[in-house]
């Protein structure tokens, strides 16, 4: 089995983002970037499947500007075998990314595609589902467990009402939820080794897909700020305020 893992470069989860004064987006210049946390979980799971002897190769895929190669390197340092980078400076929507991932998976002969459930910048929560539909492959979204079984995978999904167990056929597309695993840190020797691992650079044309935008971002603004309220010092005061001031109980 070959596993393709889609990894996205995003603003680090610990950074407080700022909206640009011209309302065209958020400030990304000189801001710390990192691999999307859900993608780290995806890489980790692929490596565990490989270490269990169920996969020969773990290939990382990322689409975007040159710097995406740093994100791919991060995953190579965790232990993945090689990378694919589609170099483009265009704004990418999930449908376009999904088309690229589907084309790359086809070219590489990937049996399992693992994506994060959500990118923490755009918060779309779409790409994996679209990949599955485009390829007419089984989808396991929001998984907290995956096991190889005859003909496919046994998965557990995190759903609003609890957990759901499904059996899906291979080839498949899955998206990771937070409880799937705890991603490893790259060791220094592995970081050194990763520098020599290959990253193939592709163009959008190499994949033969149309990445034209289907939406326009008209503006990006800050949400209305919440004002800090008052301190209370005991239960009597709190209950009184909830009853008589906020009128919520």
């Amino acid at each position: 089995m070959k596993i393709l893992v889609a990894v996205k470069r995003v603003i680090d989860a610990n950074i407080r983002v700022r909206v640009k004064p011209d309302h065209s987006g958020v400030e990304t210049a000189n801001v710390k970037m990192a691999m999307n946390p859900f993608c780290e979980i995806a890489v980790e799971e692929a490596l565990r499947i490989q270490q269990a002897g169920d996969a020969e190769e773990v290939i990382l895929f990322s689409a975007g500007p040159q710097k995406c190669q740093e994100t791919i390197r991060t995953g190579l340092a965790m232990g993945a075998d090689r990378g694919l980078h589609v170099l483009t400076d265009e704004r990418l929507e999930p449908l376009a990314i999904a088309k690229m991932i589907a084309a790359a998976a086809e070219q590489q002969g990937a049996d399992l595609i693992i994506l994060g459930k959500q990118s923490i910048d755009d918060d779309h929560n779409q790409t994996g589902q679209i990949v599955a539909a485009l390829m007419r492959r089984a989808l396991g979204s929001y998984i907290s467990e995956i096991k190889k079984v005859a003909g496919g995978f046994a998965i557990t999904r995190e759903i609003d009402a609890g957990l759901e167990k499904l059996r899906i056929t291979s080839p498949a597309v899955v998206t990771t939820d937070l409880r799937l695993n705890e991603p490893r840190y790259a060791s220094l020797p592995n970081i050194m080794k990763a520098k020599k691992k290959p990253i193939d650079e592709l163009s959008v044309a190499d994949l033969g897909v149309d990445i034209g935008c289907r939406t326009e971002i008209l503006s990006v603004v800050e949400p209305p700020a919440r004002q800090a309220g008052v301190m209370v010092s005991d239960a009597g005061e709190l209950v009184d305020k909830l009853k008589n001031q906020a009128k919520v109980i």
Partner: protein
């Protein structure tokens, strides 16, 4: 292609009752300014009375009902194929398909996007016009106004941002049975483990009492359950509390968990990370109990109580009993 607005809302339910999020989604669909139909797929249980409830919602003029065996526990693939089959010739019967931004809708709508070659828009918090929407990005730290250029607009709706549609008793919407479409052979349902609870559902509860890492263990959540019961509320949690195994995954409130906006949100032993705030900062009134005077949660709370939760929660329980 006509420019008329014809919206199809995909109902979410468990064969016994319609989930509340469907009502908010209908309100978002009505804001588009055209007709609103509901697609309901399921089997057995109370599906007929759910269909009647849908037909009774203010503004809904038609209910497409697929009551067939494979739609009990239908997966994303099977549901999406059914919706796609009912969009009409070349997908022009409906201009918009909407579903709640629940795990059901968030999986379904993008999958449908892949089937129909249309770029969806997730998690609408405002309908500006039939093609322009506002949605939170970066864990709610920014709001993007997005215009769709697609003929077929596929949307998930942040349910807390829209009022629930009323049951206006018109009962007038026509209920039209529809045929089954392709059933996916790729996915086999095994089982669901649901957190049974007598309390109101988290995303539509009027009061939510949430606990974080400060609760120390799962047993201590009994305190919050008691408090929630006194206030007729639901119990939620931070990611840290879920990751530590104090409570099940479906309690998680936040950027990547559930979004809630109750009248009263009580955050107990929660620091107030941006990812948590993303899921609760639109609550009407926020109360924070934390023994760290510097906790970021105090910056968004209406009432901040700087106290050890093991002192504060019992005191609050006693006060409410008076």
């Amino acid at each position: 292609m006509s420019d008329s607005v014809n919206a199809l809302v995909v109902a979410e339910h468990d064969d016994n009752e319609l989930y509340a999020g469907t009502l908010n989604t209908v309100t978002a669909a009505r804001a588009l300014g055209g007709e609103v139909h509901i697609l309901l797929a399921g089997n057995g249980g109370e599906i007929a009375s759910i269909a009647a409830a849908c037909a009774n919602l203010a503004g809904v003029t038609k209910v497409l009902l697929a009551d067939h065996e494979p739609y009990a526990h239908a997966g994303t693939e099977t549901m999406a194929a059914l919706v796609a089959a009912n969009l009409g010739a070349a997908g022009r019967q409906y201009s918009h398909v909407l579903a709640p931004a629940s795990t059901f809708g968030k999986a379904l709508i993008p999958y449908l996007g892949g089937l129909c070659d249309a770029q969806p828009i997730s998690d609408l918090s405002e309908v500006v016009s039939a093609d322009t929407f506002v949605r939170p990005i970066y864990a709610g730290n920014a709001l993007a106004k997005v215009k769709s250029l697609e003929a077929l607009k596929l949307l998930t709706v942040r349910t807390t941002a829209f009022e629930p549609a009323a049951s206006d008793g018109h009962g007038g919407a026509e209920i039209v049975p529809i045929a089954a479409a392709d059933i996916s052979a790729q996915v086999e349902f095994i089982e669901q483990t649901l957190s049974a609870s007598e309390r109101p559902e988290l995303t539509s509860a009027r009061v939510v009492v949430s606990g974080g890492r400060g609760m120390q263990n799962g047993e201590n959540f009994a305190m919050l359950e008691k408090l929630a019961d006194q206030l007729s509320g639901a119990v939620g949690a931070s990611r840290a509390a879920v990751d530590a195994g104090f409570v099940p995954n479906d309690y998680q409130v936040g950027q990547t968990g559930k979004v809630v906006a109750p009248d009263l949100y009580l955050a107990v032993g929660i620091s107030g990370a941006i990812q948590h705030l993303a899921g609760m900062k639109d609550s009407k009134c926020i109360v924070a109990i934390n023994n760290d005077a510097e906790a970021p949660i105090f910056q968004v709370a209406d009432y901040s109580w700087n106290e050890d939760l093991f002192v504060a929660v019992p005191a609050l329980q006693a006060e409410l009993e008076k």
